[in-house]
Amino acid sequence: MGDPWIAREISLSPRIVFPHKILPYLLVAPQLAITLVFFYWPAGQALYQSMLRQDPFGLRSRFVWFANFRKVLADPAYLNSIQVTVVFSLATAIVAMGVALLLAVMAEKAVRGKGLYRTLLIWPYAVAPAIAGMLWLFLFNPSIGSLAYLLRSLGIAWDPLLNGTHAMILLVSAAAWKQISYNFLFFVAGLQAVPKTLIEAAAMDGAGETKRFWTIVFPLLAPTTFFLLVVNTVYALFDTFGIVHAVTGGGPGKTTETLVYKVYNDGFVNLILGDSAAQSVILMAIVIALTAIQFRYVERKVHYG
């Protein structure tokens, strides 16, 4: 998900102009073809499907204009799902970035074995979301999980199967854990770019470690933090289906049904294709809006050192 942005950051090289007229188009053609086939065509299909009411087999269908959208937006379950998604995404982004920053700062301070710490902290990124989900599910399974056992012996009635808050905590832990490595990598790189002279000067002026971090290091990390904020939000919004599917399946009740999971559930389990398509079109609009806002407004306020 993050790769195009990395590419953009890196390729700030001088402009190269091709003398040919047709060659550039030819070179771009494969990419365009792929975009057409894998983005515009399915997106168009989704748009068309979102205005249909159809039985699962497609034997009978009616064109209903925006009725599906009206229905979805008036559905309390959908509004609940929006709320769940906001809570989940914010919590995941904050936890994933907070922990990663803390670990990065600590790993920077290590005198010996820096490389080892870094390698070990980056490893979890290689784990597939569904597997990460299963790991956490086993650890916190009320019957057989070792961490659930610990919680119980501490007097906490741990029950993610019935307690929505517990289920959400479990989900956020699994989703954030998976993303910490990635954030860690970028924070380590960001920290190394902070000029040592500034920190040393501040230290000589008597600024403590905490003060130095918040007034010098943290503001200088802003570009990295902003970039990670985009990546983490997008990750939490759209890349966590596997984790939700493996850990809670949207339950208990509907307390962990995110927007993406609801698209799947309505479309592939409940076979209400029109509603599901309408929801995915809304999601598409959300992504476009989010990206536009983040790059138009938030990016301007970030100081790129």
């Binding site: 039985d55 087999f57 034997l59 019957s143 208990p252 592939f268």
Partner: protein, 436 residues
């Protein structure tokens, strides 16, 4: 995964060949959702069928879980690439039934191939479930199961309960569960898989009370749920009360609770008869009883309904292919094939002859409990309340019920509120599904 993809590709290619060229052998594709020991049964049956004749070749293809298989079938149909035979789980029955233009009733497939289909040869409870209201057989019951009661004899002994008489009624079960908990024999008294299937659908059938109007949806048309009747409310309030102090422990929406029972946490357990294999494997000192019934119900115990899956035949295939499908179903109905399927997989035999033969062989004496689900299902002729349940959107309605029951078990609402909400939301969803 790669292997399955490959197998699917092979199957697709073979299907293509069979329709375009004049091969002597007609390929019949069968998409199924069986794993583990049950997948071996599918392969063995297919191989034996192919060896038994030379006109048709049956090609079984694994398509994932039950919902995934159903979705694969639907997607393939929409793309004009439907398989000949699709295995669909009980919950998907209504979905398939509503797709009249997409499927061909099994009864028609059989008569079209010049075979007689004698329904009296099959277990009535199962045949009833997979038939239209007018009696036309729609799909072929492949694997059927029914919910039964399992109990841990060691825990029973510790709690001072009689190890040879499992609770027969729900009230007896609540008492036994409390005793297990208070005596400290186990940390929980009772747990159950599939609350919707066992405590709503089968609870209604077994106690001969209505789950929904229109013969629980089997008669079609406008269906309204009836699950907020007092007998359901009392049952679930008792369950919710037991959940408060952990006498009843919730495991999840499907079969997750099996782990809790296998771990020895709970003494009593209700689950599909198809779940026996894992309990046997665990080496637990277990016992089996009938599903408990409610003493407030006059007709109880009536009969339980089948779960599991059946085989559906898609429409718009060639006569040759239908003949092949019919030949396979005839083969599948043979007594020795059914006996093998029943004894190996733990699912019920679908023909009476196979049941009798298994009985005669002394299998049930060696494997007590294997007969319980059959007796439960065939004890009495099914009534309008006990032929099973059918809705065009049963998966969605079950989801709604699960959500409300979870809120109830978490102490956020009473049983009355939970079931009222489930009825209101469920009815709205059914209405909408019928409009589509």
């Amino acid at each position: 995964m790669k292997f399955f993809g490959f197998a699917a590709g092979v199957a697709a290619t073979l299907t293509l060949f069979s329709t375009t060229s004049a091969f002597a052998v007609t390929q019949i594709s069968w998409w199924h959702a069986m794993t583990g020991a049950n997948a071996e049964v599918v392969d063995k049956i297919s191989k034996d069928f192919n060896a038994s004749q030379s006109d048709y070749e049956l090609v079984p293809v694994f398509k994932g879980t039950y919902p995934e298989t159903l979705n694969a079938g639907i997607a393939a149909f929409r793309a004009g690439q439907a398989p000949d035979i699709l295995q669909v789980f009980d919950v998907g029955t209504g979905v398939m039934m509503a797709a009249e233009g997409a499927i061909k009733p099994v009864a028609e497939v059989m008569t079209g191939a010049g075979m007689t289909f004698d329904k009296s040869q099959y277990l009535p409870g199962i045949v009833g479930y997979y038939s239209k209201p007018d009696g036309t057989m729609l799909s072929f019951p492949y694997n059927s199961s029914s919910p039964i009661l399992y109990y841990n004899k060691d825990i029973f002994q510790k709690a001072g309960l009689d190890v040879n008489s499992p609770p027969k009624t729900w009230n007896e079960l609540w008492e036994a569960a409390k005793k297990i908990k208070t005596s400290g024999a186990a940390s929980c008294g009772y747990t159950s898989t599939w609350l919707t299937w066992i405590h709503l659908e089968n609870f209604a059938a077994w106690n001969d009370v209505s789950w929904a109007t229109q013969q629980n949806g089997l008669a079609g048309g406008d269906v309204e749920l009836k699950i907020n009747a007092p007998i359901f409310v009392n049952h679930f309030q008792a369950l919710a009360d037991l959940a408060k102090d952990g006498t009843f422990k919730y495991g999840g929406r499907t079969s997750e609770a099996k782990q809790i029972f296998l771990a020895g946490e709970c003494g009593i357990f209700t689950e599909s008869s198809g779940g026996l294999g894992d309990i046997v494997k665990s080496g637990m000192n277990y016992g089996i009883g009938q599903l408990p019934y409610d003493t407030d119900a006059k007709g109880a115990p009536q009969n339980t309904t089948p779960g599991g899956a059946s085989l559906w035949v898609f429409g718009n295939k060639s006569d040759e292919q239908y003949k092949g499908v019919a030949a396979f179903f005839a083969y599948l109905s043979k007594t020795d094939v059914q006996e093998y399927l029943h004894q190996k997989s733990g699912y019920l035999p679908v023909t009476l002859a196979a049941y009798e033969a298994t009985k005669k062989s002394g299998f049930y004496e060696k494997n007590p409990g294997r007969e319980t689900p059959i007796l439960q299902m065939t004890g009495k002729a099914p009534t309008d309340n006990s032929k099973g349940v059918r809705l065009p959107n049963l998966p969605q309605v079950r989801d709604i019920q699960n959500e409300e029951l979870e809120k109830m078990l978490a102490g956020q609402q009473t049983a009355q509120q939970a079931l009222d909400n489930a009825v209101t939301r469920g009815n709205a969803a059914i209405k909408e599904a019928l409009e589509n």
